[in-house]
Symmetry: C2
Subunit: 206 residues, 2 copies
């Protein structure tokens, strides 16, 4: 009897993998779907096929698409733990921007952007919370550190540590990626720092 | 014989309307679909139903969804023609921000945001061009006018008239609408001007 590799493999694979290994494969497949077909294109069937398992194995762990995507994002969100103190605010900002750019264009970053752009944040409150806690708040915290160091060095005005200043870089990176299809070369990052951030941060009397 | 109003009306209506009137109804229906079900949810069938006409009437004028949406956006894009000179840069910026906010939350504004967020700008080049020419460039032009007036008055540093400065407000408005679900109250607009724009624009020594 001739057995197709493609039809036989999934069933065999799902029999072999258990617990954490299968879970990991399903979360990976969800991320892969998010970064290719997006939030609206993602289906539980597609994820099951990608993970070479059955739909029941997916539904057993995650009753809904929202549950699955929340866990997949939580597990994979790009983490930028710290920004080294390079001695001046320009160098610190550039280091942070480079890491943010690299995270944005990674597979989890693309998956995340699919969710941010396709979901209405009011409707998708659960996913929104994952993004805020997992990405937005840590990034703002790092920007706060960089700005605070600059204030301590006397390079940055003392009232610059506020939410509008912290949001300026993430806002600009999202806007130009969407509207101008910018991929944020190193040169683009230097320009946004020199033309936007440094004038914004400089002490009131110069 | 009992005739349902809802099933009978479309065929009768499509017989009565001609040319520009029917065209207008189809473009309106496309905009309605964009602002409710979004770019990916929009179908030629749905637009035909919304305009109370047949699918053939839609395809006769617009061979593809891209063609139809490009024309619908072009016809409806919110236009902000000018910003009155109110005598200082803060008042001018606030007037411009209020008009931008009102346009963003209008029906054509919601339709436009559906396209911006759901379409990959590289793939949807045609729609992208409509948005850039119809909305981004005119907004940047108005910001340039406001900043240039500020430079002439001596309120704004002379090197502030650049693309990063012009993009800061649109970027912040898009980012906080998506990530924080901000609806941009008048108070939010005043804060972004006072905490972001005025520090960014102020003269180097001052």
């Amino acid at each position: 009897m001739v057995t197709s590799h493609w039809t036989a493999a999934p069933a065999q694979a799902s029999l072999r993998r258990r617990g954490a290994v299968l879970e990991r494969a399903i979360l990976d497949a969800a991320l892969e779907q998010l970064s290719t077909v997006g939030w609206k294109g993602l289906t539980m069937e597609g994820v099951a096929a990608g993970a070479q398992t059955g739909k029941a194995a997916v539904y057993r762990r995650w009753p809904s698409k929202e549950d699955l995507v929340a866990d997949a994002l939580h597990a994979a969100l790009p983490r930028i733990e710290e920004v080294p103190d390079l001695g001046d605010v320009r160098a610190d900002l550039l280091a942070l921007c480079r890491r943010t750019r690299d995270a944005m264009f990674s597979r989890p970053g693309l998956a995340l952007r699919a969710v941010i752009h396709e979901c209405d944040p009011v409707q998708a409150e659960r996913l929104h919370a994952v993004i805020i806690k997992g990405l937005v708040e840590p990034t703002v915290q790092l920007l706060r550190e960089v700005v605070t160091r600059g204030i301590e060095r006397g390079e940055v005005r003392s009232d610059a540590a506020n939410g509008y200043v912290f949001d300026a870089i993430p806002a600009m990176m999202m806007y130009r990626s969407k509207v101008c299809a910018s991929e944020w070369s190193d040169r683009d990052l230097e320009e946004v720092i020199d033309q936007l951030m440094l004038p914004l941060l400089r002490p009131t009397r110069g």
